[in-house]
Each structure stands twice: as C-alpha cells, then as structure tokens.
Symmetry: C2
C-alpha cells in the first residue's frame, strides 16, 4: 500500500497550489498528488483552444511544477475515501494511506434537464483533453453552432469558435443580457459593448429565452426556444454553470451541502485530518458571510494556499470570497471585484458610487491608448470600498487587482483618494486623471452632500 504524509486528490487550479503550498510550509513531509487526468488543462484557457491557441496541447499546465517541488504524482481516480483508516482507494485497486488529506475534486458542468439533451453533438465544457479534441473535430463539419449560456464561457467560446472557421454562431441566454450575473446591471454598458462586438463579428445573440427542446434524430439538428423559435444547430455547446464534485466526500460521510463539501474558515472539513479547497467546497461572501455561488480558478488557488499552509499548523484564515474576475473580448477588457451596486443593495448595504474615465496613456497621443473607465461602490455608512468595475485595455486586468487590494484592506474612499500611485506616459493614466483615485473622490463628494 502506498503512503504519504500529505495526499492531495485533484490536480488542477486547487490541487496544484495546495500541494505546492504544503511543500513550502512543510518541507520535511512526503506529498502525493492523485489525479485522474493524464494531462491537465488550464481551465480558463479552454475557450482559446478553439481559436487563438488552436489545440488542447497548447493549453496545458506542465507537470514539472510538481516534480520541481518533490511532489509524487499518481494518475488514477480516487473512488473511495475511508476517513477512519485514513486511506483512499483508487480505481486501479491500489490504496493510499495519508496523514493529512486535501480534497480538490473540482466541479462538473451542468446539463439542462430538457428533452433530447442526450443527443449526439451536444458538448459540455469538460476539462478533458480527448473530449475537447473530439469537439474540435466535430466543429470542422459544423455550419450552425448554438451556444447555451452567455456568461464568460458563452462569450469567449462564441468569439473563439468564429475565428478561422466558416460557421454561424448563435448564443442563447435566459437573462436579458450577456454577462449579467457577473457584472450586475450597472456595468451593462460593458455587457452592451461586448454584445455589440460579438454581433459585429456576425454572432447572433438571443436573450430572455430558455432552451425547451433539442430536435433531430440521434444527432442534434435544431433547438427550440421558449419563444417558439427554432434554430438550426449541427452542434450545441452548453455553458450554464457547474456543480461541485462531492461524491467522494459525501460517500465517506463528510458534511456536504448543495454548495459543496462543508469547510470552516481554515478550509478544514468535518474530519479534522481532511481539508478541501476549490470548486468542490462551500463558499461564503467576504461582505456578508452568506453562502456564495462563485466558482473561479483564482478563488480555488487562494483557498488551496490556505488549506496547504494549515495542514499541520493553522496560520491562515479564509476571509470569504471577494470575487475578482475579468474577461477580454476583441480590444476590450472588462473586470470586476467585489459587489456590484445592485448586488450590494440586495444584501442590504446603503451604497454610494463614483465613476471616472480617462486615457490609459498620457498624453493621449501615446501608442496603445484606450479609454479606461472605473466605477467604485462604497458602503455609505462606514465609507469602505465594497466593489469596483473596470473597462478598458489589457491593463484593466491588473488594475482590478489594485481595487481588490483596496477592498481586502477595507480602505475607505478618503484613503483611496490619497492612494500613492505610480504612473508613466507609456503604460498608465496621468496621475491627475488616475481613475481609481478620482472615482473615490467623486463618491466621497456624494457621501458628503
């Protein structure tokens, strides 16, 4: 029987950093990572396989990180967990003993329960190299593609599938606008621009409808919407969300809810020797402590760094999910941290907002200039920043992390207004126009009046 001090089940955005963090904090321990995939895909990079990067092989997380950190790897599926014996049974029949266990079993894409959903040429976004190869092959013969769901996956898949391919693409979304859940109604200008861009590229977007039926014999030939409309479809890609993979934990008697494997703020499950992190666990909001449904690779890695460090000695605490995310379509990058205005109000916060837009170069004649727009949401009662949205060029992806730093440190508008920034003509806004600071000033002025 195999044995290691620390065993990690899962080898993606949670499993890898959990193992590496454990190595950094417990250099003397033996660490073993068990995963079922031969090759691990970069989860957020999957849409780009279908256009920009061209193949699953160009979107892999290399195994050398594990080797360099002296982490043993077993490619096998964990089928049973025996907490009392402190061991894991693998599909091969092999058993693995552990002293501390980390569950990083991830999530699986949801399939809508509608007639005909079991037909051929219906694809989920599975983190599986061979499965995505099959989808790439199928797309060669597809002239009409329907994508169900207009969240990040829907938007990015539509844009990428349209690249280097003669294909009609239609996105079907039950809400009123693409990316609405992610960005809230306040950032609808961003969502609208993304829709406009996709439509300019010839992508058909149908919102405010549900998928009711999948037509065709053994293979999908068309879909029927709640509006009665039928749309020709040689293939259907479904990106409507995920559910946590909790089977292993649940069968072993660990506490599990609909939200995932139950963990405390140290990332420990109901068994003191078993930790869990990533898409498979319950989450709660940084702002309210209420359960959070957000599932992001970046959240998974943060949780993994908490779990991996706490295995033998608690030194880190999960403050709850802030929620920081980003997408880039064409030349536009949109990003968000924390709560939207609407979301904050729904949670009972009295909020005040401030907006600022300026060129992300100075003077504007500098090459590569985009307009960068920032919107900040503050708690009116104590002045603390609770959310921020950014829209602009590529550096929006890092600017939103500055906003996240301000949120996590519970900075108030008055603090952010005198935030010490670095600027340069070729890469940022001018210090006078710097959006983050000016948005805070504008919110502050509203708070006073």
């Amino acid at each position: 029987m195999k044995a290691a001090d620390i065993v990690v089940i899962g080898g993606s955005a949670a499993g890898i950093p959990a193992a590496i963090t454990a190595r950094r904090h417990y250099p003397e321990k033996s660490i073993l990572l068990v995963r079922k995939e031969k090759q691990v895909l970069i989860p957020c990079g999957i849409p780009y396989i279908f256009g920009t990067v061209g193949a699953p092989e160009n979107n892999l997380i290399p195994d050398d990180t594990l080797q360099n950190n002296n982490i043993e790897l077993i490619v096998d599926e964990a089928t049973e967990l025996k907490p009392i014996d402190k061991k894991v049974i693998l599909a091969s029949g092999e058993s693995v003993k552990y002293d501390k266990l980390v569950l990083a079993t991830g999530s699986s894409p949801l399939l809508p329960l509608i007639p005909g959903i079991d037909k051929k040429n219906i694809y989920l976004i599975k983190k599986d190299v061979q499965y995505l190869h099959n989808l790439l092959n199928v797309l060669k013969d597809v002239s009409d593609l329907v994508i169900l769901g207009c969240g990040f996956i829907g938007v990015e898949f539509a844009d990428e599938c349209k690249k280097n391919r003669e294909i009609n693409v239609t996105i079907v979304e039950m809400l009123d606008q693409c990316l609405q859940i992610a960005f809230g109604e306040e950032a609808c200008r961003c969502c609208q621009e993304i829709e406009d861009y996709l439509e300019k590229r010839g992508i058909n977007i149908i919102t405010g409808v549900r998928l009711e039926d999948v037509l065709g014999d053994d293979k999908v030939s068309a879909i029927k919407l709640s509006s009665g409309q039928e749309i020709k479809a040689d293939a259907l890609i479904v990106g409507i969300g995920v559910r946590p993979d909790v089977d292993l934990a649940q069968k072993a008697g660990l506490a599990v809810t609909k939200g995932g494997i139950v963990v405390d703020t140290t990332m420990r499950t109901s068994d003191p020797n078993i930790f869990a992190c990533g898409d498979c666990t319950t989450k709660f909001s940084f702002f309210t402590g209420q359960p959070s449904g957000l599932r992001l690779a970046s959240i998974a890695t943060t949780e993994a760094r908490i779990a991996g460090a706490n295995l033998y000695e608690i030194s880190r605490k999960n403050p709850g999910v802030v929620g920081v995310f980003c997408t880039a379509i064409g030349n536009l990058t949109v990003a968000m941290a924390g709560m939207s205005e609407k979301g904050a109000k729904q949670c009972g916060f009295d909020v005040v907002t401030g907006e600022a837009e300026a060129a992300d170069r100075h003077p504007e004649a500098m090459p590569g200039m985009s307009k960068m727009w920032v919107r900040l949401v503050f708690n009116k009662v104590n002045g603390e920043l609770v959310g921020g949205a950014v829209r602009g060029g590529p550096s929006a992806g890092e600017l939103v992390n500055t906003i996240s730093a301000c949120i996590q440190n519970r900075m108030r508008a008055n603090d952010i207004a005198v935030f010490q920034i670095g600027t340069h003509p070729a890469v940022t806004a001018s210090p006078i126009a710097y959006q983050l600071v000016n948005a805070a000033e504008i919110a502050l002025k509203k708070m006073k009046s």
Copy 2:
C-alpha cells in the same frame, strides 16, 4: 484688487489637483489658479515630444478641467507673497487677495557648476513649450548629442531623440549604471536590460564618470569627462535632478529648508492659511519618517489632494512618501514601489526578499505574452511589505500599484500569499503562477527557515 477664497499658485501636477480637490470639498468657495505658463505640459510626457508624440502641442494638459470645475485662471507670475495682508503680488502689478493659499510652485532643473556650462546649445528639461520647441529645432542640425544623467529623463530622452533622427547619442552618468538611484542595485538586471536595449539602438552609454568641462567657442562643440575622454557634442541635454522652487515662500518668511517649503503632515506651511504641495515642499519617507528627496508627478498629485481637502477642515494626513515609479523602454516596462533591498538595509531594516517570474498570459501561447518578474522586500521582524519591483510588459505599470496598495496597508507576506486576485488568459498570469502571491510565499518560506 482681485480676490478669491482659495488661491493656488502653480498649474501643473500639484496645482491642478489641489484646485480640483478644493472644488470638490468646498463647492461654495471661489477658487483662482495663477500660473506663469500659457500652456501646461504633461511633465512626464516631455521626453516623448522628441520622438513618439512629435511636438509640445501633443503633450499638453487641457485647461477645460479648470473651466469644468469653475476654477478661475490667471496666466501671470506671482512675484511676491504678503502673508500678513493675505495677498499675492503678480508680475503684471495686479494683487490677489486670498483666504487660503496653496503654493504649488514646483521645481527647476539643476545645472552642474562646471566651466563652459553657459555655452549655447546646452538645454535643461524645462516645462516650457517655447523652450522645448527651440530644442526640437536645434536637434534638426545636431549630429552628436550628449545627455548628462542616466535617470528616467536620460534614458527616455536618449531613446526618443534617436527616433526618426540621424543622430549619435551618448549618455554620460556618474554612477555605475543607468537608473541605479531609482531601482537600487537589486534591480540591476532591469537596468542592465535597459542599457542593453539602448546600446542595441546605437546609443553610447558611459558610466562612472563626471562631466568636467564643456568645450567650444560660444556653442558647445565637445565635452570633457573626468576620465580625460573628450566626446564630440553639438548639443548637451542635462537631466541630473531638480531643486524645489522656494523663492516666493522664502522671501515671505515661511519656513524653508534645502528640501523645500516646510509642511506638516496636513500639508500646511508655517503660516496656518498657506498650504504647499508637490515638488516645492519637504518630503519624508513612509517607512522611516526621514527626509525624502523623491520628486515625482504622482507624489505631487497625492500631496495636492491632501492639501486641497484640508484647507478649511483637516480630513487627510500625509503618511509620507512610499515612492512608486515606472518607466517603459522598447517592450520593457520596469516599475518599483517603496524601498529596494539595499535602501531598506541602509535604513536599518532587517529584510527578506522573494522573487517570482511567470508569463503575463496563460497559456503562454496567448498573444502579447511577456515574462513578468516580481521581487518583494519584507521587513523580517514584523513581516510587513516595504518594497517591490516589477519587470515585464505594459501591465507592470498597474501591477506595481497593487504592490503599492499592499505596502500602504502594511500587508504582511502571509496576507499577500492569500491575496484574492482576478486573472484572465488574455491579460494576466495564471492564478497558480501569479507573481505577487508567489513572491510573498517564497519570502515567507525564507522568514521561517
């Protein structure tokens, strides 16, 4: 006689935000800004006039910000300040009464005291449209240009003057490496890469020497170095630093030191009705409280936002200069916040560092990828972040602001290791490889061992 509740002297990176902040905080007050320049240049954009943007007119701060904020503008020079009468005398003979005064008189470039420095074709970097037009014209007939000083101005001027121009450019620097004062010895890899880039472009860099003599009749024809070497020069551009413009304050009897007009942490001078901000004031370090010689437009704007808000009611305090800066040469952006390792040690800190490098896209096959390198410096005693350097693509300019947020909030390595980030394939590193977090983890590991 003119009169306004609030009078601001100076219309650049300190004066403008001081006036705008006063407007935001005191909507009922009359505000008047006096400046001597007809047109105001973006200070950090000046090097780009000589290449990328082509003319001073493409590098101006528009006056509409003042108009939109109901700030009256007088273009005239303040020649005398009478604090007891609360009035300012202008060069035109006009007087202006104030209730509260903000001095934002800036700084002037230093000229080295060596023989021949008064010859023709020797240029300082003055924030003056006509003066820079003259320099642009002179450069048309120059075949050998020497730039004295290899700080930001030297590096950026050398690169820009070489664009669209048949010209030999030589930089002369008394230290061992370009940008050494800014980045410290630890970031010498960045400095070395910038030197390599400039040399590849045919720019000659001579370090470790002083300028001893300027040769020629009425016009410079060559310069002589402390090494004995003579270098042909049709023009000399001097970028060796600035001194605060304190004349107005000094003659009025306000407290002044070599470091500038003395201000307290509220940005108030020795006269309770007179505030000062920007290059003209004394500064102190965020980390030690010791005097700081840093002069940056971004520091000026932050101080202006403190001064403007505090005029009638103290609500902001200057915590001291963190020092956040950035330059971009070719495809390389280098940025720094806070103290370098060497600087921290010189101040008596026991420090530990962590470094991480990763692609700023994920997978690496995503377009526009650069390697992004981050180095963090922590106080070993309390774990607090005291400095960080970034080297990579354009988004380094915003990433350094995230580091600045961590410094200003006195975040510790253990906090940064679980920092909640947003990531996206097209615009950032992967969450697993995110440099800021990994550099903190590596420093933490060193702290423990």
